[in-house]
Subunit: 245 residues, 2 copies
DNA sequence: GATAGTCACATTTTCGAAAATCCTTAGAAT
DNA sequence: ATTCTAAGGATTTTCGAAAATGTGACTATC
């Protein structure tokens, strides 16, 4: 796992660096879903103090990657089937909108970045035949490609939300890899997606991205659905009412 | 402002309590947008230590109510015209979806809660004639009403996102109140909205909520648009060399 | 006059000890 | 056997001092 590495932190502050490393460890499932995060352990893992850890943890709570249980510490957010399904539906909505807006606003440079991202992803896949999708590097390039599609949507708020959804969904994909029995070929889909987006065919692109997201989820459920907890009662942090009293 | 009050915190942890109070102070504009948050000041205001403050601040950064500037501390997130417009568009998308899903899934109890929320809001408005919309209590009841409309949408992720958007938007409404020159009557809209939702007319409800959100934003811009900064390119990728001077 | 370097001060950020809280076990009472 | 209470240890949470960093003023040099 990435923990304790990165000697020269690109982050500006130590808490930011820990946040970055912790997030990576959680979405890569190096920190396993549902495990309690004891401070003594974390302190050793990331080599920082209590307070600094807490800062990072609070951010991760807000991102939905960690849950805090009252005064009983923190734990890596569990993986629920119901959460995966919820996530899938919301991602379809958001990604469809982002793609449509990108098609509307994107310029030549946007198209170029999509083609570049696809190329990088495609070449890595050729180099790492068969088990390419288990490598960390492919996860990065695959994420970059999908982001390039939506990057011209002109909405920081929507884009930020999309990224968080993508990260949360990545944990399920990651878990599914370990138990995979079969894997459908997605490379054709990616190419079609790219071509459709660059052809500025918004309705077709929306259909494609929806199919892509939903089929991936189905794949995850087939591979690892039995390992997902089915406790659906968890309604994450809901902010009640507003304003003072 | 709510700061330093609430002697017996309903929150489980002190950091959670400070987070709650700070959030209230920010969305009510008691902490003015764009002001730097010095720790010495905050420590006195909220009567907690540095580390506890930082925990709350990190959460607020993730919620978009506070921005952190490298090693130069934190500041209350500024109010930008471009952010308001972005926020408006995203809120339309999300609220429309939430309402449609609520209409699909809502039961009798959901309808009852809508009616109850509307009634509370309506009666308060009758009691506080004219300047009702400046009171904190009305902000709460108005927020509760809008939330009741979408509360049956069956998606924790979407609902949570919606709440954060609503809070961010509330700061703009709040600011606009202070400079208001005119205010359009929204009470009729609210009633129509309620009736349409309970009549399960999804397309009509989606139209109404879109109009409601967009017109409110237009109202805010007319009242206080001149006080909103137009500074940031707001797009991380576009260089702001032009605005720089 | 403008630029670079240096120092003192203000502010933020980090740390680990101390306080608060939770959890487990043991023993007693019903 | 079950429930309740107490004590002890384990863990989290909070605090303020100490370290790190940014800021601004002043001087020296070109």
């Amino acid at each position: 796992m990435a923990a304790k590495s990165e000697p020269r932190g690109a982050e500006e502050t130590r808490a930011g660096d820990v946040l970055h490393r912790m997030r990576l460890d959680i979405i890569s499932c190096a920190l396993k879903p549902g495990t309690r995060m004891r401070f003594e352990t974390l302190k050793e893992l990331y080599a920082v103090s209590f307070s600094t850890l807490r800062e990072a943890l609070q951010r991760l709570v807000a991102e939905g990657l960690v849950v805090s249980e009252g005064q009983r510490g923190f734990m890596v957010a569990p993986l629920y089937l119901s959460d995966l399904q919820d996530l899938t539906n919301v991602r379809v909505l958001v990604d469809q909108e982002c793609i449509a807006r990108s098609i509307l606003h994107g310029d030549d440079d946007w198209e170029a970045q999509i083609i570049a991202a696809f190329h990088r992803m495609d070449r890595l896949k050729a180099r790492l035949n068969d088990l390419y999708f288990m490598s960390d590097e492919w996860a990065v390039l695959h994420g970059d490609f999908h982001r390039s599609l939506v990057s011209a949507c002109q909405s920081p708020t929507l884009l930020d939300f999309r990224d968080k959804l993508f990260q949360r969904a990545h944990r399920y994909r990651r878990m599914s890899c370990q138990f995979r029995t079969k894997w459908r070929p997605k490379d054709v889909e990616h190419r079609t997606l790219m071509e459709t987006v660059i052809a500025r065919d918004a309705p077709a692109a929306k259909n494609l991205i929806e199919r892509h997201i939903r089929e991936t989820t189905e794949n995850v459920i087939q591979n690892a659905g039995q390992f997902l907890s089915t406790e659906p009662t968890a309604f994450p942090g809901i902010i009640k009412s507003m304003a003072a009293e």
